[in-house]
């Protein structure tokens, strides 16, 4: 079971934040097929948000084929987004931690790191996409 949270600084629809958090959990293996998502009432109560917003998020996930609603029971995970790469997560995480230590030693603040990662990610994934299109 996962617990949702709302990021007060992020503008944009609340339901998308919920969708994003489920995807994230599926990607990291926190949620696996057969797991139940929190009930609509529980989510709307704990976050003090409109139940329709939660329903909308779950519907979106259903459309994407990630979850399925079983009437009267709840909403369950159908498939994972983790893929075979999940096994590599631990190793990659260790590399990343080593890199972060290095960055800190080099005098980078948290925000510098985030900025660097974001620009690098944008450039790298754009390159890949371009290559993909050519191929």
């Amino acid at each position: 079971m996962i617990e949702f949270h709302l990021d007060g600084h992020t503008k944009g629809a609340t339901y998308l934040q919920l969708v994003q958090q489920v995807r994230q959990a599926l990607r990291t293996g926190l949620l696996t097929p057969g797991d139940q998502l929190p009930k609509v009432r529980e989510v709307s109560e704990s976050l003090a948000i409109n139940p329709n917003t939660v329903l909308k998020a779950y519907r979106q996930l259903e459309i994407e084929g990630l979850v399925e609603g079983r009437p009267g029971v709840g909403t369950f995970v159908r498939r994972t987004l983790a893929g075979p790469a999940l096994a590599n997560h631990a190793a990659l995480r260790r590399d990343l931690e080593a890199w972060l230590r290095k960055a800190r030693k080099a005098g980078l603040e948290r925000e510098d790191v985030v900025a660097l990662v974001e620009t690098t990610m944008r450039a790298t994934f754009q390159d890949d996409a371009a290559k993909g299109e050519i191929a």
Binding site: K11, V40, S44, E45, S46, I49, N50, P51, N52
Partner: protein, 307 residues
């Protein structure tokens, strides 16, 4: 879609002063609606008319198709009045008994379970409870009727932030499974943005904005660009300028668009377009009472219905 609450030309007069005038609105069932407006805009009057505490001076109002106060719908409407009044020497248990005796349908166990879950001392007289707990008792009392329409008149106005959050949690938890329609008046726009999916904005006794929050947010944009005046001609695709501010070189406009979801690249490259939040929209309309009483209720009927 059935209307939980519908008003046509509704007005209420106190002496010569119209507290609410020519109010036409439609609240679809299942919505959680924010009732917003400056003090004295007629919010309490509208709620009192909807719950049958007041009778209209003009026009009509109906809940689930019947006159408010009609025995047919009396039990379907719950109300939490401003300042959450409770009998001062009663305990929550006694208030539950009151609810049981005065209603055909009343879930006493639900009310007490709910309060026990919140660690409210149900056997102490209500003045011994904190403001937040008293508000919880009033809410639990209203929810125990299992109303189809719940009207709340500034229930969190006097609460501290934590108590306010707990109140809204209880409210959302309380209605999630039932699909209860809510009309909630408040000045706390941040809370409303989390909770509400429908907006009723009153200004000087009239309905100024009405509609689904998603539709409203999709319809409004913030445009930043070179200095612009109305004389320079209308901007393509803008139905109305809600608010404008200018510096020597720059103009910022909050606009309502013609289209419910403008395409990327709109309206032209000299304008930077950004999304607005519900709070931005409400503040823009509140700042200018003349900023069009559109979108008209009829128009939004359609938008609300298609959602």
């Amino acid at each position: 879609m059935t209307a939980a609450l519908e008003a046509t030309g509704l007005g209420r007069r106190y002496g010569k002063h119209w507290a609410l005038k020519d109010c036409t609105l439609h609240l679809p069932a299942g919505r959680i609606a924010a009732l917003v407006g400056p003090n004295g805009a007629g919010k309490s009057t509208l709620l009192h008319l909807a719950v049958g505490l007041l009778g209209p001076s003009s026009g009509t109002v109906s809940v689930f198709g019947a006159t408010p106060g009609d025995p047919k719908v009396r039990g379907d409407v719950g109300f939490v009045a401003q300042d959450t009044p409770l009998y001062p020497d009663f305990s929550a248990t006694e208030l539950a008994t009151l609810g049981t005796k005065l209603n055909r349908r009343f879930d006493r166990a639900l009310m007490l379970e709910r309060l026990n879950g919140l660690n409210v001392a149900v056997d102490r007289p209500v003045p011994a409870l904190s403001g937040g707990q008293r508000a919880q008792v009033a809410l639990a009392l209203a929810l125990a009727k299992r109303p189809r329409l719940l009207l709340l008149d500034e229930p969190v106005a006097s609460l501290d932030p934590l108590a306010r959050r707990e109140f809204l949690q209880a409210l959302m938890g309380g209605v999630a499974d039932e699909g209860t329609t809510i009309l909630l008046s408040s000045h706390l726009l941040g809370d409303l943005e989390r909770v509400c999916d429908y907006l009723v904005l009153l200004q000087a006794g009239r309905v100024q904005v009405l509609g689904g929050v998603d539709e409203l947010v999709a319809q409004h944009r913030l445009l930043t660009g070179p200095l612009w005046t109305r004389d320079a001609g209308s901007i393509n695709g803008v139905a109305a300028v809600v608010r404008q501010s200018h510096t020597e070189r720059q103009t910022t406009l909050l606009v309502r668009t013609d289209d419910s979801a403008p395409a990327p690249g709109w309206p032209d490259p000299q304008w930077t377009v950004s999304d607005v939040s519900l709070e931005d929209i409400i503040l823009a309309y509140l700042a200018d009472a003349g900023a069009g009483t559109l979108p008209g209720p009829r128009n939004l009927h359609r938008v609300g219905g298609s959602a």
